[in-house]
Symmetry: C2
Subunit: 700 residues, 2 copies
Amino acid sequence: MLEALLYPEAIAVIGASKSPGKVGFAVLDNLIKAGYQGKIIPVNPTTDEILGLPCYKDVREAGVRIDHSIIVVPGKAVMAALEASVAAGAKAVTVITAGFKEVGHDGAVLERQLADFCRSHGVRMLGPNCLGLINTENHMNASFAVQMPKPGSISVMSQSGALCTAILDWSEGRGVGLAKLLSIGNKADLCETDLLECLSEDPQTRVVAAYLESIAEGPEFIRIAEAASAKKPVVILKAGTTAAGGKAASSHTGSLAGADIAYGAAFKRAGIVRADDFESLFDYATAFATQPLPKGNRVCVITNAGGPGIMAADAVENLGMRLEPLTPAVADSIRSQLAPAASVLNPVDVLGDAPPEKYAMALREVLEDDKVDAVVVILTPQAMSDPPATAEAIIAATRNNPVKPVLVCFMGGSIVMTARRKLVDAGVPDYTSPERAVAALKAMVDYAAWRNRPPRIVTRFPVNRHRVERVLARQARSGRKEMGEVEAKEILRAYDFSVLPGGLARTADEAVAMAERSGYPVAMKIVSPDILHKSDMGGVKLNLSKASEVQDAFDLMMLRIGRAAPHADLRGVYVEKMCKPGREVILGMHRDPQFGPMLMFGLGGIFVEVMKDVSFYLAPLTEGEAMQMLKNTRSYALLRGARGQAGVDLDAIAGALQRISQLVTDFPQIEEMDINPFIVGEVGTRPVVADARMILSETE
Amino acid sequence: MLEALLYPEAIAVIGASKSPGKVGFAVLDNLIKAGYQGKIIPVNPTTDEILGLPCYKDVREAGVRIDHSIIVVPGKAVMAALEASVAAGAKAVTVITAGFKEVGHDGAVLERQLADFCRSHGVRMLGPNCLGLINTENHMNASFAVQMPKPGSISVMSQSGALCTAILDWSEGRGVGLAKLLSIGNKADLCETDLLECLSEDPQTRVVAAYLESIAEGPEFIRIAEAASAKKPVVILKAGTTAAGGKAASSHTGSLAGADIAYGAAFKRAGIVRADDFESLFDYATAFATQPLPKGNRVCVITNAGGPGIMAADAVENLGMRLEPLTPAVADSIRSQLAPAASVLNPVDVLGDAPPEKYAMALREVLEDDKVDAVVVILTPQAMSDPPATAEAIIAATRNNPVKPVLVCFMGGSIVMTARRKLVDAGVPDYTSPERAVAALKAMVDYAAWRNRPPRIVTRFPVNRHRVERVLARQARSGRKEMGEVEAKEILRAYDFSVLPGGLARTADEAVAMAERSGYPVAMKIVSPDILHKSDMGGVKLNLSKASEVQDAFDLMMLRIGRAAPHADLRGVYVEKMCKPGREVILGMHRDPQFGPMLMFGLGGIFVEVMKDVSFYLAPLTEGEAMQMLKNTRSYALLRGARGQAGVDLDAIAGALQRISQLVTDFPQIEEMDINPFIVGEVGTRPVVADARMILSETE
């Protein structure tokens, strides 16, 4: 895929320039200097030679079938350059020129024309408004960046061209190689999803590191990213996390689900490693690019100084990994080879005067220990230390055991510089602080766990879809988006939820009859599409235990609410049997505009409203994921049973979440929903929907 | 203070060596090479010259009055060297030799002897088991570290000698100067508190950066650190935060208060800037060392690229600072000087091709804007960028306005290196990522807020101390540490807490009489020093509303608990009027072994037990701090009133916390206490202690 983009045999630079300082010069110069071996065709009507290459007035005049055309002409001339490129055979174009969607309406129109042309001609376009692209494998620097990275196994895609320049400079400064670098630009045609798919299939790429500000096609991105993550790690820094904004939502679930939560849920589903800042992005990428994945989370720290060892230990514990004692035989063996003051607990302290051999010995021993999944090696440059030789010894020791990750931290700046470069060159990732090394390891542990997750099997429950269709059709005819308790419960019943016996009463006598049928005590709730917060209006009465109370409640409710909200359409009162007391939880769904249905779980009342103690997951949901949603709340201990109180039926909640997942997957017109409260009892009991609301999309 | 340690006129090196590779050689060599101008007296019985200096068999033979003696002889010879030093006039000694407390009992005994000798002779000792010390002001490198930093305004003290070497290497690599560097070692005499006091008075030191694993004298440290922080920022990385452990605690408060929480509370009191990892320690220190404190938290970001600007904006928002629009006139002025595509919202995007002048212009403008408290300037190395000239332009612009902090992030590695060095040399702190620059700014904002805090005035409430003394004396005679509800309430009453009418009944008839007197309904609770969890034993009955119920409850409780716990000393049943319903909160105190009484506040029940939603503060407490404790819980919204529910009397809770603070300050023998629940009503009502427990220290 994208062969013409990344591996062209002939490349045109339309808008090539003779003037150093111009982008059209820089691109051509970079292509030549980086050593690209294909044909390079500069195009510029005002000259017939640039940088020693024959230059053409029009790409079609070159007499060569080109694969890829780099366009750097002014905005208005881009379409013509594109047409000429396609006529000359181009299957891919990179439009570096800016001044399109990002500057306003006219630019957006022009940009759409470019994209339409490409689509109708089967040509793929990178940009416009981008830095270009680099492929180190074929020495192609088709960008106006001043630096060409050395070959490596990290591929980068970035929605910020400027960030690409910072990444290239970092790569040069740190000596880390790259495979491909793609500046995404305005993504009029090729977007992060296409490029991710392409990089996931690129044998040169071991890890994808991406900077993104937005994601174009949520569900498709998740599908591709999940497939990519199954092959290689995808590390993403998603910026713009706090400016969320998001549309106003009227359900609890909607108001708690920000855009950043949706990204989090999508990334979790897709196995994406999320970087929280710029340094983490490459801290993680360099670890993934060079080291094998850990089999577990047991970390061994080797250090020549106590303090940094403690820092690493703190970080291991804070990040939820384990620092366990070594196997006694291994500990004994290491002890016998070190001075008596050395420590062979974990951290292993080889002491301040440790020569390279001691480091190598300790590292070899712990790499063989079955109780160690990963190793962090720390050096402080003490008087007797030999950092470069120690680096070499570490490199040699890791070569013997390439199945466990080894991350290194040579602390300092000046003295350790040569050693750090040696490590990086040999593919042993080196970090400037123990904490950063441990954080990179944590990213590996999490990704490895995702790779080893059980297969995702989404259960399909037997349900009554037709009944839901009928209710939704009726609602659609009413023209109302908000769906009240009566209809919402009817839908939920069709998806095998328990609701209490009861029904809508239009008169006081009907209410009494309803109460007699369902059995006392009963609850009564006003039914009106115009009243959303029933209890605030005095529209809820609980625990009514005889006919006269029901009669009084009906009449008073209709009278008083009728007075307070004279224009409300009061359809009657919902009478239902009071449910047995139990734990109140809230189940909800919010359809994220990017990523689709996100399910929410939380304990009811203050837990949701004040503590915001909820968890989200993207539908469709497996049984394991549903259970994980429960575990991801802080209040999970209460559900499981705490302080002598019996726990509730966790499986019943997990089942309900899965059935909601099925419901909202089956019916995309359900935009938001809350089941609040969902009342759950002890193990073996059937939970009950005590109240529910749904909101339908406008378009359906 | 510590003049002899840091500014000696004559310094002896006892154990100086002729052999390169020996510590005794390194120290002497360092002293000479660094350019120390005082007298240097090498002492070694086996030679009469080292490195061109006359060497003496005994320091007393040198015929010079020395101020400071560096001791590097083997462990057993240290005492003799110390005695000789003192005889030769030394007022300070630095014992580099290791093998003392850290290796076991014998070493600890020897170390204590050294300390005792120093104390009885009025001599101060640094170490043993340390790297030595460095003072760049007088060019004194009295350590065996291989590097001598350039002069600067950051002083470092470190409990890890090895970390000192990493810090020195970082300092050299980054070009950051240091004032003093002190390796604390085993702190047999001089500890972090002494050194902090000394550095706080050192005019060369603008900021203290410390690495600590433990703190010796908690309350004294807080006192000195608070005084030091009032003069200059003190940034501390406290390692070993997770290995907490701590002693087993039987109260809620105790079980929630780990050692790390105590450090957090102590640091907060003392205004210490806490660094969470090694890089933050120096990220913060370099900002403080060079930049003025911000007056507020409104940050302006200037960038030549959108992506990194968003990263900075995310970080500003995540850390609770503000990114506000510029004053319109300033925005207009900047806009008029930039290309149309530039953005003058905040972040200000000067565009990718911005020359140095545009950076300088934008920076000058925003520094003059009243709506900006601090500026973060970001550069990505784009094709047209000139990083070194931009660095110079930024440096010049900041010189014009030295009252607002400017932190810079030149992203990349290789191209930006010269520019970054220029910035650091000119005292403009430069960070490798936008997030790190913003985090450093946040540390400055927090410290500035602490500096501007209102004066700490601790209210003394009129209380009945004598009554508490009597209860405590009675309890002391009983030999029991645990104090039950009856006594605890008696103490609290003396400190102006409301408890409900009621009392201890020894017979069923007494219980009825008590109930009649206090008024129904009543609660009844078993009273026994052997039963701590009353309700688990069936020892609590609530809402008893007539005499027969009280009688039955008394007899059944005594019978059943007597059977279940035959050896328990059942003293009767506490009968008290049921209190009006209200919000249940928990107030507690746990005496931290390091830092003394820590007060706790949280909402009762699950909020404490499951959500661990509590806040801690060190006693004594001001009114503002008490109120802050409430605000620091997530459930504060519930107290203030949420979802139509009325709030509770916050002042009453704050007052109660202050009275507990006074109580536990007055009576240090109270080791732990819980008031759980403390029942709080609406504004204007008096909260009630529904139950309380105290635990006394063993020694009292």
